[in-house]
Structure formats: structure tokens, C-alpha cells
């Protein structure tokens, strides 16, 4: 006759099995979703075969292993007991592995490399060694998003560059005297701004390392300001700020042209060559887009 406890044991066993199956599925699903299963499987074979090739090379050899197809620094690599194990974080038990042979006549210095930037496999002076190489540099993309519209105000006839600070003198001269930009009428006087002026550029200085801009309510001017900002960011350590719409008369007079007020942090003006070339490049980029 059935007792109450018997059914409970059965239920507990079933629950345990279900939990195990669910956990296994979740692990499998996670690795597939993150695409690391295939990546590890590929990389572990690739490296193991390269290890064997290096060992078999008749002379001395150094092989630098860098891979553009996956992030080497995401994994730990263990070269022990004729096995290459590759795993994420501390999950050594869940490592993907592949065997490789060792030349017993060669002294080997193999160990574990934790998240290396890259590594080098070297067979020199009867020694086999795998060591870390390089370092990981985290580069943050600080560029701002520019309008994707095609350039429509490409007629560069008259250019007015205004500045209220002596530190912009070189930039102002570079812009006004650059024959590559092709402005027939360069000027640095506010009275030269008319409705038909092609480009108005106002340069202002502020403290710090920010690069800001003011523009009229015009997408083409926004595009030019954005190109200037991004070019300066590329050349310097500037912190960019997206363009802001302004109703300043200096920016809104030339309704047929482009107008940008650049506010440049004084930290960026220690070497004006970079800022100057960044602005000129932006004008060229705009014209050629």
C-alpha cells in the first residue's frame, strides 16, 4: 500500500532532475547567445595547432598571436598537461580544451595566461615559452553623431572668421589664407557678413578642454559644426558637446550660407596647429561630401 512519504521522494527526485536539466540548458543557451562556444572551440584548436607548428619548426621561431576575429583578452589560457584550456573568468571547470604535443627534448615554460592582450609563442635556445605580449587599451569613442544629410551649401565664395581673442590669430590666418579651401573673399570683420556670405565662423575661448558650438536653426550648419567638433576630438583630448541652436545675429545673418560659433577650451589651444588643421579639414570634408 502506498505511503505518503513514497510519493514525496519521487517528487523530490523529479525536481532535482528538472533543476539539473534546466541549469544545463541555461548554461548552453547563455554560451550560444554570447557566441563564446563557437569562438572558444575555434580558438582552442587554432592555438593548439599553432603550438605544434612552432614546436616542429626546424629553427628558432617567435610567433605573435593576435586575432582580429575575437577578443583574446576575454579569456584565460592554460597550457598544462598537454592540454590547452580556454575559459572565461574563473570557470576553469567549463573550459574548452584541445590537446597539443610537447617536444620533451625542449625545456618548456608553459603556464596560464589570464586575459592577455595578445601572446607570443617562442622556441628559442632549446626553450619553449608562451608569454603575454602587449596591453589592452580601452578607447572610448567620444565623437558626436552628425546629420547624415548630403552637403548642399558647397559654394565657397566668401568666408568671415571672427575672433575676440589673440590666441586664435594663427587659426584665423590659416583659414583666411588657405588657397585649398578656395574662398575668393576672406574677411575678419563682422561688417563683412551679409545675407550671401558663404561661411561665417566665430571663434571664442573658454576655460577647460571642452569643445562646444552654436549654430543657427539649419541642418547644414549643424553638419559643419559636427564635423569640426569631431575632427578636433580626433586630434586633441577635447570633450565634445553637441551643437546648440542660437539666434545670435552673427550666426543668423547669412541665411544662404553656413554659420558656426566654435567655443574652444583653452587647454586645447596650447598647440593651435591641431585645432587649425581640424577646422580646415572639416570645411574640406563638408565640401566633398
Amino acid at each position: 500500500m502506498k505511503k505518503r512519504g513514497q510519493l514525496s521522494h519521487q517528487v523530490i527526485i523529479e525536481i532535482v532532475i528538472l533543476v539539473l536539466i534546466t541549469a544545463a540548458f541555461f548554461y548552453f543557451h547563455k554560451t550560444v547567445q554570447e557566441n563564446t562556444l563557437f569562438e572558444k572551440s575555434y580558438a582552442v584548436r587554432d592555438i593548439a595547432l599553432l603550438m605544434e607548428t612552432v614546436e616542429s619548426a626546424p629553427g628558432e621561431i617567435e610567433m605573435y598571436y593576435t586575432q582580429p576575429t575575437f577578443d583574446i583578452g576575454k579569456y584565460t589560457y592554460s597550457f598544462t598537461d598537454n592540454l590547452l584550456r580556454m575559459y572565461e573568468n574563473d570557470a576553469a571547470l567549463a573550459a574548452t580544451y584541445y590537446p597539443f604535443f610537447l617536444d620533451t627534448a625542449v625545456e618548456n615554460y608553459l603556464g596560464t595566461l589570464e586575459k592577455p592582450a595578445a601572446f607570443v609563442v617562442a622556441k628559442e635556445k632549446n626553450m619553449l615559452e608562451v608569454k603575454e605580449f602587449g596591453s589592452i587599451l580601452q578607447q572610448q569613442d567620444k565623437k558626436i553623431t552628425c546629420p547624415t544629410a548630403a552637403s548642399t551649401k558647397k559654394t565657397y565664395v566668401s568666408l568671415v572668421v571672427l575672433s575676440d581673442d589673440i590666441s586664435f590669430a594663427k587659426i584665423q590666418n590659416d583659414l583666411l589664407n588657405n588657397p585649398k579651401l578656395g574662398f575668393a573673399k576672406p574677411a575678419k570683420d563682422p561688417s563683412a557678413i551679409t545675407e550671401k556670405t558663404s561661411v561665417v565662423l566665430v571663434l571664442t575661448k573658454e576655460e577647460g578642454n571642452r569643445i562646444r558650438s552654436f549654430i543657427p536653426d539649419d541642418e547644414q550648419s549643424e553638419k559643419l559644426a559636427c564635423l569640426m567638433t569631431n575632427n578636433i576630438v580626433e586630434e586633441t583630448t577635447a570633450d565634445p558637446v553637441a551643437p546648440t541652436i542660437s539666434v545670435d545675429t552673427q550666426l543668423t545673418t547669412n541665411t544662404n550660407g553656413l554659420a558656426v560659433q566654435l567655443i574652444v577650451g583653452d587647454d586645447l589651444l596650447e598647440d593651435t596647429v591641431e585645432v587649425s588643421s581640424a577646422i580646415q579639414n572639416a570645411l574640406e570634408e563638408y565640401a566633398h561630401d
Partner: protein, 184 residues
């Protein structure tokens, strides 16, 4: 008595039915799990088959290895890949020992091979093995009908080499390799 109770045969019948159902519960759950795993594996590539390439690479490694299959001049510390000393195939025990030392997989034996050296006139000069014990086991499995996991695969290839005799003369010859690897 209701129709349901009739079908189950009353209280006792109901108890027996519950137990029978419980008995099948676990295998059914496992069956469903295995079916799901098979379905997922069918659609997602998780295995990369490099067996044939590894066998090919192994053959090249055998020929390039310092103090391995190819002739090695110890006074110059120089290997001549593709030039094989005929004398090495006359003392195969030494050659086999040397190859296992030079290409040692430790506890994870992955490859075994048979190496036969022929003259260009098909005269057999000698037969050596890499992991002889495993080659003799695996080559049998490679020749049966089963090709999946648990079996082995053999890859045969011929390499044109130069035979170096003790008097320094060299003649063309053929190195025939049969590389056997387990399928899983």
C-alpha cells in the same frame, strides 16, 4: 459509480495508475530533454572538425621536426626536411622512441601513424610507427562500418622524399603515411 472510477477500477486502480504514470515520468522527461538538445545541436554549429587538417599538419610536422623523421646533421645543428636517412628505417625502434619523445601528447593521445618508406621502384625499405600500440587498436576501428563518435578515421598520404644512404648518396623515394585519429 461514475464512468471515471469505472475506468480506473476504483481507489486501488487509481493508486496503481498513479504509480505507473510516475514510473514513466522520468524517462519521458529525460527523453524530452535529449530531444531538445538534439534539436538545438542540429541548428547551431558548436563543433569544428579539423581532424583531416590536423592529420595533414601532423605529416608536415613529422618531416620538419628537428631530429625527427628527416635527416638531421648534429654537427651543423641543421635539419634537412624531406631528406630521410634510410638507416633510420632499419633501426625502427630507435626512430619510434625518438618520434614519441619529440611529439609527446602525454595522457591525451590524439594521433597514431604508420610510416612506410619505399624506393621509387616500390621496394619497401622499412616500416615505423608513431604510437604503435594505439595505431594497432585504432586502425581496426577505422576499417569498420561505424564512422561516428567512438570510431576512428584513417588518412593515407604519400610524400615524395629523398632517401639518404649511409655513403651520402641520395635517391628519390616515397614516404607513405597512414595517420589515424579518434573521431571524438
Amino acid at each position: 459509480m461514475t464512468n471515471k472510477a469505472l475506468f480506473l477500477g476504483g481507489r486501488k486502480g487509481m493508486s496503481d495508475f498513479t504509480w505507473k504514470f510516475m514510473f514513466f515520468n522520468i524517462p519521458v522527461a529525460l527523453g524530452v530533454a535529449i530531444a531538445m538538445a538534439i534539436l538545438v545541436k542540429t541548428y547551431i554549429t558548436t563543433d569544428i572538425d579539423i581532424q583531416e587538417m590536423h592529420a595533414d599538419l601532423f605529416a608536415y610536422n613529422l618531416l620538419n621536426e628537428k631530429d625527427g623523421l628527416s635527416y638531421y646533421d648534429s654537427s651543423l645543428d641543421r635539419v634537412y626536411p624531406g631528406i630521410i636517412a634510410v638507416s633510420a628505417f632499419q633501426d625502427t625502434a630507435t626512430l619510434e622512441k625518438k618520434l614519441v619523445q619529440r611529439m609527446n601528447y602525454g595522457d591525451h593521445i590524439l594521433i597514431a601513424a604508420e610510416l612506410q618508406l619505399f624506393t621509387s621502384e616500390d621496394e619497401l625499405l622499412g616500416t615505423a610507427y608513431y604510437n604503435k600500440e594505439w595505431f594497432n587498436r585504432w586502425i581496426v576501428l577505422a576499417r569498420i562500418f561505424w564512422e561516428g563518435a567512438g570510431s576512428t578515421t584513417a588518412y593515407a598520404q604519400n610524400k615524395t622524399v629523398l632517401l639518404r644512404y649511409d655513403d651520402g648518396t641520395m635517391k628519390p623515394g616515397i614516404l607513405q603515411l597512414i595517420v589515424v585519429m579518434p573521431n571524438s
